[in-house]
Each structure stands twice: as C-alpha cells, then as structure tokens.
Symmetry: C2
Subunit: 462 residues, 2 copies
Amino acid sequence: MTTVPTDDAFAELHSRLGAKLSRAPGDLNAHGYDEGGSLQHYPPHAVVFAENEQDVVDTLAFAARHGVPVTPWAAGSGLEGNALPVRGGISLDVTRMNRVLRLDPDNFSATVEPGVLYPELSRLARPHGLFFAVDPGAEASLGGMAATGASGTGAVRYGTMRDNVLEMRVALTDGRVIRVGSRARKSSAGYDLKNLFVGSEGTLGVITQLTVKLHPLPATLASLRASFPTVESAVQAAVLVMGAGVRPERLELVDANTVQAVNAYKNTRYDETPTLWIELSGRDETDLQTQLNLVMDLCGETDGYGFERATTEGERLALWTARHHAYYAIRALFPGHRIQSTDVCVPIAELPGAIRETQRLLDAHDIHGPILGHVGDGNYHVSLHAPGDDTAAWARTQEVLKGMVAYAHGVGGTCTGEHAVGLNKRKYMRAEHGEALDVMRSIKQLLDPQGILNPGKIFPDE
Amino acid sequence: MTTVPTDDAFAELHSRLGAKLSRAPGDLNAHGYDEGGSLQHYPPHAVVFAENEQDVVDTLAFAARHGVPVTPWAAGSGLEGNALPVRGGISLDVTRMNRVLRLDPDNFSATVEPGVLYPELSRLARPHGLFFAVDPGAEASLGGMAATGASGTGAVRYGTMRDNVLEMRVALTDGRVIRVGSRARKSSAGYDLKNLFVGSEGTLGVITQLTVKLHPLPATLASLRASFPTVESAVQAAVLVMGAGVRPERLELVDANTVQAVNAYKNTRYDETPTLWIELSGRDETDLQTQLNLVMDLCGETDGYGFERATTEGERLALWTARHHAYYAIRALFPGHRIQSTDVCVPIAELPGAIRETQRLLDAHDIHGPILGHVGDGNYHVSLHAPGDDTAAWARTQEVLKGMVAYAHGVGGTCTGEHAVGLNKRKYMRAEHGEALDVMRSIKQLLDPQGILNPGKIFPDE
C-alpha cells in the first residue's frame, strides 16, 4: 500500500535535492492534468525536477522507504492520463534531463536523456542526413514515447517506439539501474527486457537514458491528397496500397468532419470529404512518379478522385502540419467539450468493417466523433466529444468506445495501438489479455512489490 | 530442483499419452544432439510426441507434479544446444504439431502450430503473392525460431522473429495457456509478453501456436556478386550500402575460405576471394538497374571488382543455395572436426573493427575460422573448427570466441545476434547484462519456480 508522505519525510528528501524538490502550488497544479482533458485533476504532493540519473535513483529510494507513489512525468502530452499521479505522491519530472548525449550517425543512432523532445532530435540529426522516424504529432518526449510504446504517422514505414529503441537504462525501485537491450540491431541474448519496459508506462521502472535508431532522410518526397465518396472506400484504398507492397512514408485517413475542423483551425480550404493523405518517398523523380501513378490507380479502384499533389516543400509541410493539428482543431471547434481520442488497432483487412461498425455506433448513440488515423497500420482514432458537464452524452460516448473495443477484440485487434492504457482503458485489459493479465500483474509485483510506481494505471480494479 | 522420473511416474504419463510417450533408445538418442555438433550427448529419459496443445499442457502438469525437466524440441536445427535436455527428463517434441491453422493473405499473416517448418509456410503462401521472410537457412521450425529469436539472411530487410511474430499461445508450467501479443500490427496494451517469450528458449513456457507476418513477394529480384581484396574492404562496402538507404533483400559476406568450401561442396566455381552476395528487389527492371548501379558504385569505392549479376532465376537460386549451405560445406571440408559457429552482432559501423580484431585473434591463436555473415545487420559468423579430440586446439578456439565477445561488448554489441544463448554462451551473460541478468533470473523464478523448463540454459552457473 502507498501512503501520503509527511512533511518530515519531505524535509528528508529536500535535504538531498534542495530546490529540485518543489511543493509550490503552481508546480503541483501543472503536473495534475495532461493533454487528454480528463475532467478530474490529480495534483501530486510534490514534484521532483530530476537533473540526472542519481536524482531519479535517490527519489525512488526515498519513495520506497516511505511507501510514497512516484509517477514519472515528461512532456505531459499523454492522452490517457498515463502520467497523472492519481494516488498523489511524487511527480518525477524528467524534463530537465534533456541532453542529447551522443549523436552517432555512423551507427544510425543517438543516445539521449528521457526529456529530449523528438522534434529536437530530428533537428540535430538532419545535418547528418538522418531523422528520428517515430512521429506522434504532439511535442512528446522520447522517454514518454518509450514508456507508452508510442507511434504515429511514421509507423507504417518505420515502426513504433518498440522498433526504434535499441537500448535503455532503467532505474528500479530497489536502487538498481539496469541496462536493457543492446546497440546491435538484433540480439538473442536472454530475455527481452527492453520490450518489457517499452510500453510499461512507468509502472516497472523509470527510464533514465535511451539509445534510439535514426533513419536516412528520403531522397525525394511527394504528398498526395485523394478524396473519396465514403470513409469506407478511403479505407479500402489504403488496404489496397498496403497490399501492393508500396511502402508509404505516411498513410493517413481523415473524415469530412476532421477536414472541416482543420479548415476552420488552420484557415485552409481542403475539400471537406473523406480524404487520404499519402506521403511517398523515392530514389528519384521517376521512381516517385511510378509510385504516385500506382497509388492513384489503386485509389481510383475504390472511387477515389480529386487527386492533388503537394508540389512544393512548403505545401507538403503545410499539409502535414494540418494533419498533425487535427486533434487540436477538433478541440478548438468545440469549446467546452471534453474529447476522448480512441486508438483502436485491428488487422488491416478488418479495418473497413471496424470503421463501418464505428459509424454505426456513433449514429446509434447520437455522438459526433470525427475519424482519422494511421490506416496503413490498421490504427484509427475517433475523437469522441461532448460537453464536459453533459453526463448523459458522455455516458453514450463510453458506449461507443465499448462497442469499438469489443469489435476490435473480436477480430484479433487491440484497444490501444499507440496511446497506451493509462486510466481509461484499464477496464478492457481483462477482455484483451485473459489470464495473460495475471502474468503481467505478477511481473508488476516482482519489480515493484510495494506498488509505488505509477499506481492506478494499466491494471483494472478487479 | 529437478528429479529423475521413476518408472511408476512414467507409467502415469503413459496412461494419459499412450504411444505418444516413447522411451525407445532410438528416440532418446535422436533427441540428445542438435546441429551444433556438441561433443557431449544428452539423451532425455523420455520423449513426448505432442500432437496438440492439450498434450503439451498434460506433459507440463506431469512434469510439475514430479519435478521432472521438460525441454521443448522441434526441428533440432539449433546450433547452441538450445533444445538439448542436459538435465535429462522429457524431450517435448512438437514436430507432429505441424498444421498451418489459418492462412490469412488479406491480413498478411498465418497462424501455425510450432512444428511447421518455415519453408513449408513460404510454399503455401506463394500462390497468394506472399512469403515468410525470416530465413535462417536450416530447415528450422517456426516454434523453434520464435523460441530462439532467430533471424538469418532476410533480417536486413524484414527483421527477425521478434519483428515477425504477432501473437502466440504459450503453455505455462502451472497449467495456464496464455495468449500473448495481438494480430494488430501494433499495440500499447500493457506489458509486452510476446517479446518476453520470443527468445526465451523454452525456459519460461512452451509455444503451442504462433501467428506470424507474411510479406508481399518482391516484384523483381536481382542478385549480385562482388569480389574484394580483403574481408575488411567488403565489410566497408556493406556499411556504405546500408548508409545509402538501399534496402537489400539480403546482404551477405563470405570470405575466401568459405567460398572455397562452398566450391568443393557444391561443385561451383565462384572466385575464391572475399565476396559480397547482395540481393536487391525493385518495382521494375529500371528501378532494379538504378539500385544495381548504385551498389556497384559503392562497392567500387572500397575496391570491389568482378561484379557478376545472376541473370536467370536458376542462377539466383543456385547462388543463395550455395550461401545457405556454407555451414554444411565447411563441415564437409573438415571431417572429424567439431565446428562452433559464432554469431556476434555489433552496431554496423563497428563491424570493420570487429572483423579486423577477429582475424587478429584467429591468427594469434592459430585457428582456422571461415567468416561469413549477415553484414547488413552487423551480424557475422566465424566457423571455429578443430579436430574434436584436439583439446589444445579446442581451447584456443574458445580464446578466439572470448576475445570476439569482449570486443563486441566493448562497442555496445551482443554475443549472440540470432543463435541464442543455449549452453555455450551462458558464460558471457553476466558481462553482457550486468544486473539485468538478475532481473531475468527473477522472471524465470516467477514463471518456472521449480526450474523444470529447459534447465541448464541461458543462465550461467554463478
């Protein structure tokens, strides 16, 4: 069981950390909500602004001694309450651990502290002809992204954080700091602890360092927009593109509602129809044109039309900025609304059925929910929204989500492709994992016997 | 502690399994050695030929009740003693669990039993324009490949078993059968148990079913051979090719000794020089030629010469068959020799240095060791060999291996890229993992408290 720390206890921690320990109301307040727009606010009892690995180790030792909860915090860009200290205690803020320790272009990798934001890493890698390929859109930290197993628009080609983290250092509650993974591209040396910690949402240990892959910048890029008569026909085109062995850099669906929100927010004039936004890379212009022609043919097979290629770098970036801001656009269009962004993921051929069922559920429950997503992965988002105080409408959004998750489970999919479980999807864990959930619980018990690391996450109250 | 089973105990198991339980000397003998050519022979006390998941569950229940070791067995193609029942007990043979349960081309996946050999799966997938991309060369089983985290020539483009297994069913020692992973391409739903079991060498549970990825067959293929003045210059060319963002289907190094062995074994006439064998895929002939030209330019930069393109499908297959048979060719060339195939893997830019150090070690210890490998991954093999009864020479091979592993660890690499730990590399686990090894041990203790699953593997005697 965790406890509420006493003032005396905090005095002890203060004697070690000095000004890195804050109990200022502003700091507590700022660490009590994330981008997910939870109705409830969860301020911690204290914030530790760790500046190095030893600060993390010392904070964990303190927490273990006093039975105080510790919840790691980085950019705060999570959507599922992943980093909210729901049982109070310490918010362990690693934003000051933001050094790029080693840029290693020859080995296509970089070693960073967990608070480094991924756009910053890409910016530093660019002069070497490289970039960091996982791109969730928000200004997320690499530590937070590893902790949630994040992905985003680049995953269709470059994989998720799981595929892009080579090695990590992880601080455990018992004072050990272990190195997991390897800098080699592959290893069969014992149990894969690296992937055990990736996606564990700070419930098993605290990431203090990561070595991640960098990828060569594509030689040439082109972006294409295509309109479709229905969301389903757009999804079918995406399935065809993936089946043809084209390896797009990005392959995104936005529905008419989303385009409308983006137009309003970014003052753009995109056709307000179900749309695929596709980015392709090529060895040269000829190669690019061959692929563009193939993709347009495939889109045409499911009645795609109005193809528009972004011809300048500026147009291309504007298009992707618009896509990345879709979530914020929807938020802006519905002031006062609470938004829950779902992230169900299904095997790709099951995606048209999943989208059809989602639209049926939205209609049946009278809920407005723009649909967008990384359809090349089978991953899609519905921005379920309703006024924060409309409890009846809010209850109906939860019925929609429940139906979507049940459908995904029925076709071998998952309730969360990239946002992780956090608070909101704990209730689906038993249905998704069956007895494997008990194995997860026993691993949690093994590595955090006191239950002090990010309590109240991942596991349902059963 | 494990025990030797009594006749009475086996009578109990026989009453459940009938003829699926064998204690025939021929069966025991056949399950006591693998392809690794261990000097020592480890016959089990009994072999269970499991025909379905329930047979596996019943065998594990029996073993747990009596404290009898159980070591899973499939194709027996391991090189590290991974499947040898070194403490006796039961060899749990899953070769009869060899059904392809579901071929799902629309979702680019197949669900199989663990005894299915991977070439068989590729054969079945081919009419759908798909193939299974992990290709270790030997006639390996998918269950065994998952258990060892195998890879091979295809990994440079398609990743390892870790990347290609989506979902598994795993039988635990306490009677539970859990489902790990998901059929979706990505998931952030809780701890990654799938990757915990992939590469665990049957020490945590027994794989009873796998869903694996299938990939589209490349539209066109070309294979290129290039000779080099030195092994190091060949490796440097491989590093350049990877750095240029070319994504070869395969990128293999063979040294002059290996080509010589292959020529003798397959009656071929390849130039007996350090050689890169490169397979490229393209959208069409133009695309292919562009890549071939680029690769030849890059090879030329490190003094590559004698480029030869396999122009017919027959030539291409002959070339890859020769490469795949290199290990057997070396065995054939040195009758009576014991061979230990190393599989160190390092970050790619460290590969020239690693190869240089390996050659120095071979010379210093007067050991003959042909070098070949999947150099696009930073993974290479040395076939250390000496007469089985020449203990002095054999001790020197171990000094070479020790030096290679120490070098790899020094540059952030691993002692095993794809063959797994088995018996032979246990001694390097502490140096490679430090305190993380203790976390692995505690997970082993958690899932197999009696230590009955494949005892004597992965973990060193400390």
